[in-house]
């Protein structure tokens, strides 16, 4: 039995220690905003925050999230930085198909929390590994800068 703090709520889950956190989030707890893309940390769709750091939940054993603060896309509407990011995303109409965007927003929010005015190199470093098949990268970059100014 694992005890996980997810979006400020404590959850007791009866899962194997090495079950990836993504499975726990989606299939056990029912938080389906975080997406499954590749399952091998190659696409970034499953990105969540672990103590504020963007991590790929598909390769993170749930037991390693114990005692740490997990935040998912569902909590971003209550997060001051997450709010700015989502506002900028809507204003600039970043999203096309949308599948990768939970992960993009989680990576962008983690970046802006530690680096409120990121330059292009900061954005490159933080967003590398979040892949968008629709190619919305240009708008993502613009929206991150917009959120940083807000």
């Amino acid at each position: 039995m694992l005890t996980l703090s997810i979006n400020g709520t404590s959850h007791q889950v009866d899962v194997p220690d090495d079950m990836p956190l993504l499975w726990v989030l989606r299939d056990v707890i029912g938080l389906t905003g975080t997406k499954f893309g590749c399952g091998i940390a190659q696409c970034g769709a499953c990105t969540v925050h672990l103590d504020g750091q963007a991590v790929r939940s598909c390769v993170l054993p749930a037991s390693l999230a114990q005692g740490r603060d997990v935040k998912t896309i569902e909590a971003m509407a209550q997060d001051p930085v997450g709010q700015k990011v989502q506002r900028a995303w809507l204003d600039l109409e970043v999203v096309q198909c949308g599948y990768c965007q939970s992960g993009q927003i989680m990576s962008a929010t983690a970046l802006l929390t530690t680096t409120p005015k990121p330059n292009d190199a900061d954005i490159d470093a933080a967003m590398a590994g979040n892949i968008c098949r629709c190619g919305t990268y240009v708008r993502i970059r613009e929206a991150i800068k917009r959120a940083g100014e807000a």
Binding site: D17, D18, I40, A41, Q42, C43, G44, L50, Q53, A54, V55, R56, V59, L60, P61, S63, L64, D124, A125, A128, G129, I131
Partner: protein
């Protein structure tokens, strides 16, 4: 007498600590089987007597040596395929003299030149443990060695030169911890089997003890006390953490055969024993290698692109490691080696390390990327994290690709 007394006390203390160093392992109240289990872990028997992803001690682990292929045999107490018929004396002869049942000479892939230092009492505790296991009927594949290496009798001469056939003698001028560390490293853990280069006779090159060597395509690093080439600059805590868990902050993570050593052996050692190993390693004579100095390196554009695409999700662009500290590349020895020996192994074969918690793993990238791409990403990693000019070429990748011409073709268990 007043002057003699401290001397006498000193001698007695030295004698006492030497006796402790020789004393068998294990806490008071442990029975011989429990003691044997601890010793078998410390001697890392499982690493070579367990098939990849198979049942412990049932044999079949493949060694690819320069002169052919041999397999670690089944050492469960099965009478037909294991060691069930071994008497005490026969078992002691195998570990101390490299002579198996019926006078059959063992090959020195079995580190009996190290185990020979073990006391008879400790050897028999290991036997008691192995004989407490369930017998498993498991035949190992036949060895395939070329002539003259397939002539087991010839080992008589090799043994005359390379097996001292003597028990561990504590050095009374050293501390009890040093002597315990020496016993763990030399008699049990056989660290030198990988970390000391071999001479043309396949004996250990004692002049470069612990100076590093390539074994089965992996570079076993220089772990002497040299500050630049060895581990002399590591803190005691970092060394202890690396030995116990396969990872230390700013020193990267163990992979390949060292990950196996941590997985099967080192993580089971008590902290006093780990500290004793550290004490001993600190005192190993430094072996210095000329390593190119760190310098800014022109980034490889293809390598940078691949690292951003394929590697950052776990390693992060600054090499801090994302999901797990085991993914940290900052300070990793593998990124300072211009030839990228171990980097190529982990890229091509992937790897994993179990340390009691969930397994940390890296998938293999050999199937998805061409040799040019892997060389580029290796060189970028060496330049970026090791600050050295990587010298990996398409040819060097092809040389060690699984199944490639120069490859030992040893699949990493589970990798």
């Amino acid at each position: 007498m007043r002057r003699l007394l401290p001397l006498l006390v000193g001698v007695l203390c030295a004698f006492g600590s030497a006796a402790r160093a020789q004393a068998p392992t294990g806490g008071a109240g442990e029975n011989v089987v429990q003691r044997g289990e601890y010793l078998a872990r410390a001697a890392d028997c499982a690493a070579c007597h367990t098939p990849p992803n198979g049942q412990e001690f049932t044999g079949g682990y493949k060694f690819s040596l320069p002169f052919g292929t041999i397999y670690g045999p089944n050492i469960t107490p099965d009478k037909a395929t294991g060691i069930g018929d071994y008497t005490d004396d026969e078992f002691v002869a195998a570990l101390q003299r490299g002579v198996g049942r019926g006078g059959k000479h063992l090959y020195p892939a079995m580190p009996y030149t190290n185990y020979t230092l073990m006391s008879r009492e400790d050897v028999l505790a290991i036997k008691a443990y192995l004989f407490s296991l369930k017998p498993v009927h498991a035949e190992s594949p036949p060895n395939a060695l070329s002539f003259p290496y397939n002539q087991r009798w010839a080992m008589v001469f090799w043994n005359l030169l390379n097996n001292p056939d003597r028990r561990f003698q504590p050095d009374t001028s050293k501390s009890a911890a040093w002597n315990r560390g020496a016993y763990l490293a030399e008699a049990l853990g056989h660290c030198q089997a990988c970390h000391t280069p071999r001479n043309f006779m396949y004996g250990l090159d004692e002049g470069r003890a612990y100076g590093g060597a390539v074994v089965q395509d992996w570079l076993a690093y220089n772990i002497t006390s040299d500050r630049d080439s060895g581990v002399g600059a590591w803190s005691d805590d970092d060394l202890a953490a690396y030995l116990s868990t396969g990872h230390a902050t700013h020193h990267g993570s163990a992979a390949g055969p060292m990950a196996e050593a941590v997985d099967h052996s080192l993580r089971y050692l008590t902290q006093p024993d780990i500290r004793a190993l550290v004490t001993y390693l600190r005192d190993v004579k430094p072996v210095h290698d000329e390593i190119p100095a760190a310098k800014p390196v022109q980034a490889d554009a293809l390598g940078a692109r691949i690292f951003r695409e394929a590697c950052v999700s776990c390693h992060a662009l600054d090499g801090s490691g994302r999901q797990t500290p085991y993914a940290a590349l900052q300070g990793a020895h593998s990124a300072r080696d211009p030839n990228g020996t171990n980097l190529l192994q982990i890229l091509l074969r992937g790897g994993n390390i179990a340390t009691g918690g969930p397994t940390a793993f890296m998938p293999a990238f050999g199937g998805e990327y061409t040799s040019e791409e892997l060389a580029a990403v290796a060189n970028w990693t060496i330049g970026h994290f090791g600050q050295r000019g990587g010298e990996v070429t398409r040819k060097s990748v092809e040389g060690v690709r699984p199944g490639g011409p120069g490859s030992a073709a040893q699949p990493t268990p589970g990798g």
